[in-house]
Assembly symmetry: C2
Homo-oligomer: 221 residues x 2
DNA sequence: TTATAAAAAACGAACGTTCATTTTCTTTCT
DNA sequence: AGAAAGAAAATGAACGTTCGTTTTTTATAA
């Protein structure tokens, strides 16, 4: 047989990793055998080792691939937010984060596998210094907002925005993975509204809130 | 040999479960063998089966025991909070939640094991309808606060209190287990203050906030 | 002696990994 | 065009371990 093209190898690896991911998520890493993965991918047991050195390497490859996907999705979300402290944008972000969590709940399960089995080696960077990263992404916007006096005195933009992001994120994680069952006692929509309101009133200056309320009463809502 | 006393059996089970818990947390459930547990507890392999039917049963026993402990600690925390919507009390709760998370981080790891390996069977009740439970615990307090007009119009006490609790909880979890590394860009103290302020300004009526600020300026802080 | 706890040995099944073998497909040669 | 050669891919049996659990044996104290 001639050597497979890089594209062909890549394609095969994807089908293997798709099968492995599904199994890891459904039954955990250690409970999933190489035989399971082989069967799931429609590949022989031995052939797996032509593509990966070890079982761990499969997990790592899955994670690295997925990290890239989620990273893009997050970038996309933040790119769609021009004014990060605007309440309506916070609310929109919450919706997008919710969709991200729900559509990729398997990704967060992989994160828990990583925490338990690999001491969180691969996901460390996910939350490490996240506020500083938001500070960079929205550097001008945050500076502008502070100049304009949009924020209450003593309130910094980056931690507040991060806290809002984390709150949305965690809300949907609890709902999706931990049996929250509407743990705030509200529908998802109501919960998003409630949380957004808290962050809006909690962080914006009174003048900013007033102008926002005026705009809201005239506007869409 | 005569039958062991119930107390003796209980004591032995505790040492076994202590060893098992440590191993489960350090290396995961499936990666921990019955031989590991036996060695860790200073007991023979076969003897484990005089105390537990299966390996799963050990895990379940650990969880049920621990759920009781955490439940008590949480009850204790809420018992120490007479006025749940008072900002200074929210802040105090945050501190207590932080200590709970940090001192019992293994408990939350067990929760992740449960999510991954047991479909969250044992921890379901942890977050299920948590807002309603807070609503019951603080029923009178919430009603009083709403009567007094402590809250902004349209803001319900239970979801807001729950959101605050979850935010504190999640903050420390991320710090402890996910390599947050001061992910809000603040010290823990500053983070607690920041979050408390958001929830205070975000949910309390202006009159209530004014009286609080007056009291704060006169008082300790 | 007798009931029972504890220890040790043994069980079959399943694990991750290896490897000799077979299959597959391109290339080369007639 | 078609057979032979060569190289890489795919296979699945087999390896040595280790797994959870069971069974057997030994030790202990009333």
């Amino acid at each position: 047989m001639p050597k497979l093209s890089d594209a062909a190898i890549e394609k095969r690896k994807e089908t293997i990793e798709d099968a492995a991911r599904e199994l890891f998520i459904k039954q955990g890493f250690h409970a999933t055998s190489m035989r399971d993965i082989a069967k799931g991918a429609g590949v022989s047991l031995g052939n797996l080792y032509n593509y990966y050195e070890t079982k761990d390497a499969i997990f790592e490859s899955i994670i690295n691939r997925y990290l890239g996907v989620i990273d893009e999705k997050l970038k996309d979300i933040f790119a769609r937010i021009d004014e990060p402290l605007e309440p309506e944008n916070l609310r929109r972000m919450g919706g997008m984060v919710g969709r991200l969590v729900n559509e990729h709940s398997d990704f967060w399960l992989l994160m828990y596998i990583d925490v338990l089995e690999f001491q969180n080696q691969h996901f460390r960077k996910m939350f490490d210094g996240i506020s500083a990263r938001f500070g960079k992404i929205f550097a001008e916007k945050f500076k502008d907002a502070e100049k304009r006096g949009d924020l209450r005195t003593g309130v910094e933009a980056a931690p507040v925005f991060t806290a809002a992001y984390m709150q949305f994120f965690n809300y949907f994680l609890v709902e999706k993975l931990f049996g929250g069952n509407h743990h705030l006692g509200l529908t998802d929509d109501q919960a998003l509204n409630c949380l957004t309101k808290i962050f809006a009133y909690g962080t914006l200056s009174e003048s900013k809130m007033a102008s926002f309320k005026k705009r809201a009463s005239k506007g869409l809502a």
